[in-house]
Point group: C2
Chain length 257, copies 2
């Protein structure tokens, strides 16, 4: 039982909660709460921490082939990112995908995120992408970190299943998509064409921009078509996760028809 | 210039930030930031607070027929709900709508929210509803407060324009909708029919449930049809704001066709 917050392992966890760079150096991220921990693929769990109370009540229901490290409630509160910690936290190995592999499915459906900043939005987009059958999410290096604890929570488990990759140059990646015959649509407030007038049954990629500023010029220029979501009232724009959801589910709708 | 955080007006603002009940007693809510303050209908501004710096730089650009009360930066930080306050805050009169009036448009498009808890989600739903041309949002009394500062921010201004009403009994209100010939659809994970197989060109209302538990039985039972959003992968559900967005924009799509 770990009883001190100055324990070296606990200190490392606190750093992993805060620092994106350390998570990437170690190749891990943190997952909290019973529901999320249950969804982790067993082979990716590196370490498991529980309070004694959690272990007695629910720990045995977790079918993980690894004995947990027990910690006191005080230590757990200290290492947790949440206000009301449940008493279970896992250190999980990050996934690795190659950009080329994500483009290679026959009727590929892709999402490209340019400088998305809100961690909650980003997690929600992953959750929605999995549900819409997206094959891969491509993120510019300056997007929020999907392994941020708030993003991980917002994915509701999609983080373990939705393929994604951070890339250095979105224009390069989009260029490769076009070589493979993927139609590239930029979501744009001034897009000439309504999003629901396009045919998404073939290979499709959407470009989604930053919450405040939209797509960078050099990214937007790579698109084949600029599309807009027609809006009523005096609304100027939609939340990025909602806009992405409407586009992704339009693909899903057309493909089911 | 107000220089002390123990000034009675400042104390009242701090209470208004925190307490839903006080906001409702006073019939007001708070709005921060240049962009949001610019969208307030002039006749609804009750009081305006600014730092001297904000007033000099941007205060005159605000075309509001009211001289602001100036406060020191320390006092402003104390009264603000945000981490990096911009230096402008308005006390705004709440709107009042009657449930019956919101149902009376010819091809009405309504949203009914049952025990929605996340303030950010709620604000995002208002923002999306305005953009989708929703005529009215009906909320159960135990939903989050749309006048919560976080909700207000998430509406991005829709709070000033999107008609809505909190009601004591959703089943009673849904009953009235049905009397008026409005088709009532319950969004449900186990809905028998895909959402995009229905015709929403006539009078339409959607019922959206709590983030974790969905619709209460007595609310769901009032629906004419249970619809689901078909999902791929192992996703169990969508974020409430994303799900509501997909449904509302399916209405908008069908009506534009």
């Amino acid at each position: 039982m770990i009883t001190s917050t100055s324990n070296q392992k606990i200190k490392e966890i606190v750093q992993l909660q805060k620092k994106s760079r350390l998570r990437n150096e170690r190749g891990v991220f943190l997952v909290e709460g019973l529901r999320m921990v249950q969804e982790i693929p067993a082979e990716r769990i590196v370490q498991l921490y529980m309070t004694e109370e959690f272990y007695k009540k629910k720990g045995k229901a977790l079918t993980v082939a690894m004995s947990p490290e027990l910690v006191t409630p005080t230590v757990f509160s200290y290492m947790s990112d949440t206000k009301s910690p449940q008493g279970v936290l896992a250190v999980v190995r990050q996934s690795e995908y190659r950009a080329e592999d994500l483009m290679d499915e026959p009727d590929v459906h892709l999402l490209v995120l340019d400088n998305l900043q809100d961690p909650g939005n980003l997690g929600t987009i992953f959750r929605t992408a999995e549900a819409a059958g997206v094959n891969g999410v491509f993120l510019s290096r300056d997007c929020a970190d999907i392994y941020n604890p708030k993003s991980v929570r917002s994915t509701m488990g999609a983080i373990f299943r939705q393929p994604f990759v951070y890339v250095d140059s979105l224009p390069d990646v989009i260029g490769k998509m076009k070589e493979k015959g993927i139609a590239v649509y930029a979501a744009h407030l001034e897009g000439a064409r309504a999003y629901d007038r396009e045919d998404y049954r073939g290979r499709t990629a959407f470009l989604i921009g930053n919450e405040g500023n939209g797509l960078r010029k050099e990214v937007e220029e790579m698109a084949d078509v600029r599309i807009r979501i027609p809006m009523a009232g005096r609304a100027e724009s939609l939340n990025a996760a909602v806009a992405a959801g409407i586009l992704m589910f339009e693909v899903s709708r057309q493909r089911r028809e």
